[in-house]
């Protein structure tokens, strides 16, 4: 027998690794293949384990924790069904480039490939939706693998990394030593942008007549908002954010034209289409953002694209000046160059351009019909913004409510708006709110959701009770899968196939059954008082589930129909 006095189990090694990485929360759910790990968790105090009610929620919560803090989120699930339940969460994080380490248990090494109980090839299943994944085959690889997992997840273009650990490995003994550094000859993310390219870009930016800044999630994830604000203010140019980029530039600032894309503002989409120099920063010309690529193309427009991921550049739209690098470092370099440059933006051209933009703004595309007898969903979001002083963390699910949240809650700070942009995963809202509330216990956290989406992870109301998470759930209850209904109204001749929400539970009673506070709000005049009450000191410690009965037939405008060009928006009054 080897001397075991200096040796610890694989499970203990794993826990020590998480401590070394300064992990504060592990979101998880136990099962056979991870029992050794849970046993090691039992006697440690370094991090808090948050027991969710479904593995999907564990990954979503870890994902939101990361979005709200910039740290790597950590989830722990068992083999087989635990692992497959986690996949939606992993794919969601992957599409939005969120750094996660997801640890999954695996059947013991000798049982792999034998169709063992609760065996699933997790490395195979997750391959297309992770930045990287590992199957640990030797206890001596545990520490290095975890080190690599955190390194890969958090550097370059971030993303989820799965580490699959067979049960026998967590029971074996070995010495623990955590590597201080990691070097991989096959992985060297680029940090600094090419100075020559940056100079060229700055020169082009200063010579623009109709400039436009278009920024995405990369600015938020790259912690580059300060540099972006500095650059934008100095130039005096208009700016738009993608759904993922909201908060990267203050939403209440006059230079901000609002969100662009399928449900973007008229002014943002028109300026995007008509500019002569487009400065894309940490954004990826997604199909929901620029619509039809052929329509988007313009001969007389030059595009600068800053992104940490070379494969995002010239993927959907050919760009003229690519700059591969960390957005924060590239923007800092641009700011320095601008500081030193004697050339200033062309004021005359800029004045004319702003005049044009103001004319577009005059359309007031986000106006909606206020009503005294039926609650308009937009009104709820506007009131929420007022009541929370524009300073809440807002999570959302997927659907119309998500778009209204993005349009009407003006985010002034980064990492405040937490939603599934890339995968569009219904069910994220509540687990996202849990991750955010744990990261910021004192903050106001609102989850704007729909009555369909909320039911996809509603079991997490129980987790919220256990961990005292005073999230405010704002359900915009239109008794429809609203976004589906809207498409059916516009493009399928009002045939509302399976998009109604029948047999809804009584959400007030449901909330109460879980030990929370429930409210039903049916009149517009009750919206503000109810919100004020929910966010009052009296209910500060409580989860409040607010069921707003909203206009069933309200639609999201403006809208660029699928496959159309950005400037081919449907505005509400045209209908």
């Amino acid at each position: 027998m080897e001397d075991r006095t200096t040796q610890i189990t694989g499970a203990e090694i794993l826990i020590r690794c998480l401590q070394e990485e300064n992990v504060k929360f592990v979101f998880g759910y136990p099962g056979g293949a991870v029992l050794n790990i849970y046993d090691a968790i039992f006697s440690q105090t370094h991090f808090k384990h948050v027991l969710v009610r479904h593995e999907q929620a564990a990954v979503h919560a870890a994902d939101a924790y990361s979005r709200a803090t910039g740290e790597v989120g950590v989830a722990l699930v068992t083999s087989g069904p635990g692992a497959t339940n986690a996949v939606t969460g992993i794919a969601t994080a992957y599409m939005d480039s969120i750094p996660l380490v997801v640890i999954s248990g695996q059947v013991p090494t000798p049982a792999i490939g034998m169709d063992a109980f609760q065996e699933v090839d997790m490395v195979g299943v997750t391959r297309p939706c992770v930045k990287h994944n590992f199957l640990i085959k030797d206890i001596n690889d545990v520490a290095m693998t975890i080190k690599k997992a955190f390194y890969i997840a958090s550097t370059g273009r971030p993303g989820p990394v799965v580490v699959d650990i067979p049960k026998d490995i967590t029971a074996q003994f070995a010495k623990f030593s955590y590597p201080k550094t990691v070097e991989m000859r096959s992985y060297n993310p680029i940090l600094k942008g090419h100075t020559g390219q940056i100079k060229k870009a700055v020169n082009l930016i200063l010579n623009a007549k109709r400039p436009m800044l278009y920024t995405g999630g990369g600015v938020v994830l790259g912690d580059a908002a300060d540099q972006l604000v500095k650059l934008t203010r100095k130039l005096g140019y208009p700016i738009t954010n993608t759904l993922m980029g909201l908060g990267g530039y203050p939403g209440t600032d006059p230079q901000h034209l609002g969100m662009l894309g399928m449900h973007g503002t008229y002014e943002a989409n028109m300026a995007m289409q008509d500019c002569d120099v487009l400065i894309a920063i940490g954004a990826r010309f997604d199909d929901r953002v620029i619509g039809n690529t052929e329509h988007f193309f313009r001969k007389d427009r030059t595009i600068i694209h800053v992104d940490v991921d070379p494969s995002s550049i010239s993927k959907r739209v050919k760009v003229d000046i690519p700059i591969v690098g960390h957005v924060q470092s590239v923007l800092a370099e641009m700011n320095e160059l601008l500081e030193a440059d004697t050339k200033k933006p062309d004021t005359a051209a800029l004045t004319a351009w702003w005049k044009q933009i103001e004319a577009w703004r005059e359309k007031k595309c986000l106006t909606y019909d206020l009503s005294t007898d039926i609650i308009k969903p937009q009104f709820v979001v506007e009131k929420l913004w007022e009541v929370t002083g524009g300073d809440a963390f807002v999570t959302s699910d997927v659907g119309q409510h998500q778009m209204w949240a993005a349009q009407y809650y003006k985010f002034d700070k980064p990492r405040r708006w937490i939603n599934s942009g890339g995968l569009g995963t219904m069910g994220v809202g509540l687990p996202y709110a849990m991750g955010v509330q744990l990261a910021h216990p004192e903050a106001q956290v609102a989850c704007i959701t729909g009555e369909a989406s909320i039911q996809m992870c509603i079991q997490e109301l129980s987790t919220c009770k256990q961990f005292h998470l005073p999230v405010k759930v704002i359900t915009l209850n239109n008794r429809y899968m609203g976004m589906v209904r809207q498409w059916q109204e516009f493009f399928y001749g009002n045939r509302y196939s399976e998009s109604y929400m029948d047999a809804l539970p009584d959400f007030v009673k449901l909330a109460e059954a879980y030990g929370h506070v429930g409210m039903r709000i049916e009149k517009p005049s009750d919206v503000e008082p109810a919100l004020k009450e929910a966010f009052s000191p009296k209910l500060k410690e409580r989860l409040v589930f607010m069921d707003f009965l909203t206009d069933q037939k309200e639609n999201v405008f403006p809208m660029v129909p699928n496959g159309k060009g950005l400037s081919e928006m449907i505005l509400s009054e045209e209908l």
């Binding site: 890969i152 991989m184 096959s186 494969s311 010239s314």
Partner: protein, 163 residues
């Protein structure tokens, strides 16, 4: 256009499936793919024959580079290179065919490596196009079986793909 891409990757379990998975997930063409260890046991070398517009090839190279296990990627078509593929063909060799098959094999500088009563097995190396030409030159009915390795490629002269 057809491109031959060479890459060096960590000799890890699953590395091949990452590359194969990338091509199918992103709907890239894949004509052939060969992989084998190199003189450095920690590295595998892969040769992929693919086709697509310049934009698609550019994306393929970027996406391959993005795979964590991939150490280096080289589009051989960016310079001068040599392409070789090995093919084994079993052909009918009865009566007058015995002489004719031997002659065809000589013309294409192949070798007969197995002789049976009614068949020959011919070994042929060369660029893919040469192997295609050989098959086209034969009467379809005489070909009993073919097996090809897929292309390997290497840069000419000082062009070296190494870590």
């Amino acid at each position: 256009m057809k491109h031959i891409i060479s890459l060096l990757m960590e000799n890890e379990a699953g590395a091949l499936s990452r590359v194969a998975g990338l091509f199918s997930a992103r709907a890239y063409n894949i004509e052939s793919l060969t992989v084998a260890p190199t003189e450095d046991a920690t590295l595998s070398r892969m040769t992929i024959v693919t086709s697509g517009s310049e934009e698609v090839i550019e994306q393929i190279i970027k996406q391959l580079n993005k795979l964590i296990d991939v150490v280096k990627v080289l589009d051989l078509n960016d310079g001068r290179f040599i392409e070789r593929e090995l093919m084994l063909v079993k052909v009918k060799a009865t009566g007058t065919l015995r002489e004719e098959m031997k002659r065809m094999c000589d013309i294409f500088r192949g070798r007969i490596i197995d002789v049976a009563d009614s068949s020959y097995t011919i070994e042929l190396t060369g660029a893919g196009s040469k192997l295609d030409a050989f098959l086209e030159a034969l009467d379809k009915t005489v070909i009993l079986e073919t097996v090809r390795t897929g292309a390997s490629g290497i840069g000419r002269g000082d062009r070296i793909l190494k870590v």
